[in-house]
């Protein structure tokens, strides 16, 4: 007991000693108007754009509008106690956020304050919330895959480290689930994940944390949360704060993944701020710099070259559309900024295709450079099969009598659609994906009953592991399907299918 008291008193002494030297000339202003989380401040003649300002009672704000006589300031946090005439101090520093390894496994707000009831995480460094994206010289093309564990994405719309891939779709089509699966799949990789929550329910934050904890990825994930009850200023700041955290890992040679969930609400928060700051409004009442708002954020996703540490920051922004309207203002903006989009459709979702990815409209502009060789070998054929199936399926609706070839093509298409289905909580390792897709595109599933496909997949993988325990590790290691390996696979599938007659379509047996 006495020890703690003496510790406390020495802490006090140190604190007081520090204060004595602390007499200096400060830049100060005066609140002229305050309300709605915005303050108009006079004075502060040498204030900088984005400068951190101090209000009474430890409240802080950011200067966003610099006018000749006044400064428009957004207040971060509570503003009820502020009144006209209060002193506002300039700090001479730009707004910065604490970063470091200690933030992993934590839930924080955009200013680095803990939201999980634990002690304040210790900051390694402070990074500016707004930073110019790395230049051309320091970057290199995206060349390493970021495995999402989702078959439809890793095979058809691959994502590379340092890429920006948009997840877009209506409400409750599984947008967040795609991001969550991807983070869960990073369990055995060295990727640090950051999940930025903007304007979502607070219950979603705690659910997210418990999901990550359950799958054992919480200790390499940071949740930055500005929920619907946070002020628009904090919601506006959240993605930049999350990005600064990601940059800390990327600039230190590590790989980071950041999810912005979602940028539509970020745009709304910024619109609210801009209207309150009386900035002129444009289309859909968004301010003129709404494009730059997202462009400068997403441009900070990077794949650094070897000389600069080789780190990467992959961004998965999420956009919620209204009734499937991807030609609205914010969706078109973000689509044009990102390197491709994953388009989720309610119709598919309701038809039981989950993840409800529309493989026709989804693209990845990085393409197959973000895939391992083995996946490239099987994905080309998969893409072709799906394209043919979609064309035939549309046509087949009108005719009842189909020739056997069309019939078989349709059957295969159905099976391919079936293997691309998977639960959000079951990410598939890439070597397993390769084998399953190889089997489906080479017709080994054509005789399996549609309702047994899922069953076949799990049982076959188990069988493969027991009969040829070396195949999957070889694919993982060598990243290629050699001729020898393909022969082995063929034999295994044939054996497996001959054992499991019950899964076969009965018609086949009669013939």
């Amino acid at each position: 007991m006495s020890e703690t008291t003496s510790q406390l008193s020495s802490q006090f002494k140190r604190g007081i000693a520090k204060l004595k030297k602390d007499v200096k000339l400060e830049s100060a202003g005066r609140i002229e108007e305050v309300g709605d989380g915005i303050a108009i401040v006079s004075g502060l003649s040498d204030v900088m754009y984005n400068e951190l300002l101090k209000f009474p009672q430890k409240t802080i704000g950011v200067a966003l509008n610099l006018n000749p006589d006044t400064t428009g300031v957004v207040i971060l946090g509570k503003s009820r106690h502020l009144k006209q005439g209060d002193i506002v101090r300039g700090t001479g520093r730009l707004l910065n956020v604490p970063v470091g390894e200690n933030f992993t496994g934590r839930i924080i707000d955009p200013l680095g304050r803990p939201l999980d009831g634990q002690s304040k995480p210790e900051a390694k460094e402070f990074y500016p919330s707004e930073r110019i994206a790395p230049g051309v010289i320091t970057r290199e093309p995206v060349n390493t895959p970021l495995q999402t564990g989702i078959k439809a994405i890793d095979s058809i719309i691959p994502i590379g480290r340092g890429q920006r891939e948009l997840i877009i779709g209506d409400r409750s089509t599984g947008k967040s689930s795609v991001a969550i699966t991807t983070i869960i799949n990073q369990k055995d990789t060295n990727v640090v994940s950051i999940y930025v929550i903007i304007g979502q329910k607070a219950s979603f934050v705690s659910r997210l944390a418990s999901i990550f904890d359950h799958f054992g990825v919480l200790d390499k994930t940071i949740i930055v949360a500005a929920t619907a009850s946070s002020s628009p200023a904090l919601q506006y700041l959240a993605p930049y704060a999350g990005c600064a955290l990601g940059e800390y890992f990327a600039y230190n040679g590590k790989d980071a993944l950041i999810v912005y969930d979602d940028l539509s609400k970020h745009a709304w928060a910024y619109r609210e701020l801009s209207l309150l700051l009386r900035r002129p409004s444009g289309r859909e009442a968004y301010p003129g710099d709404i494009f730059y708002l997202h462009a400068r954020l997403l441009e900070r996703a990077v794949k650094l070259n070897k000389k600069n540490g080789g780190g990467s920051l992959t961004a998965l922004p999420i956009i919620e559309t209204q009734a499937g309207d991807i030609s609205a203002y914010i969706p078109t903006n973000v689509i044009s900024i990102t390197d491709g989009q994953i388009y989720l459709e309610p119709d598919l979702f309701n038809a039981g295709v989950r993840p409800a990815i529309n493989v026709g409209t989804s693209v990845s502009r990085v393409g197959s450079s973000a895939q391992i060789k083995a996946m490239k070998q099987v994905a080309g054929k998969l893409r072709l099969e799906i394209a043919q199936y979609r064309e035939l399926a549309a046509f087949a609706q009108f005719s009842s009598d189909l020739d056997p070839q069309t019939q078989s093509q349709l059957e295969r298409g159905v099976r391919i659609t079936e293997i691309l289905k998977q639960g959000w909580d079951e990410p598939t390792p890439v070597e397993n994906q390769v084998v399953i897709i190889w089997a489906a595109t080479n017709g080994y599933l054509d005789n399996i009953k549609q309702e047994d496909i899922k069953n076949w997949e799990t049982k076959f993988l188990d069988f493969l592991e027991i009969s040829h325990p070396d195949i999957l590790p070889t694919i993982k290691k060598e990243k290629i399907i050699s001729d020898k390996l393909e022969k082995q696979l063929q034999q295994t599938v044939d054996t497996f299918n001959s054992i499991n007659i019950s899964m076969m379509v009965e018609k086949q047996e009669e013939e």
């Binding site: 802490q11 007081i16 200096k24 400060e26 830049s27 100060a28 202003g29 004075g43 003649s45």
Partner: protein, 100 residues
Amino acid sequence: MPQAVSDLKKLGQRFLQFIQTKKPEDFGLIVRVESVIPLTKDQQSKLIKILSQKLKTKVTIENQVNKAIIGGIRIKYQDKLIDVSIKTKLDRLEESLLNE
């Protein structure tokens, strides 16, 4: 009515004459000093002496009583602030103790 107008005109002329005889320096800098109890004449003249030396202009002090600062003084001029009040010191102490 015309009488009032000509009076106003005269007033304006007087004001202009007054302004022209004075240089900006003569007005000095108005410095607001907040304290818990009113500053004495002696304290004020001391402050004026120090401040006019530091700022290299003539200084006029305007004393305001502000109980909220607990002790010490707070000097404000233009948009500058020298804050040596007890209130601010306590706030800083709290901040530094919380951050440790």
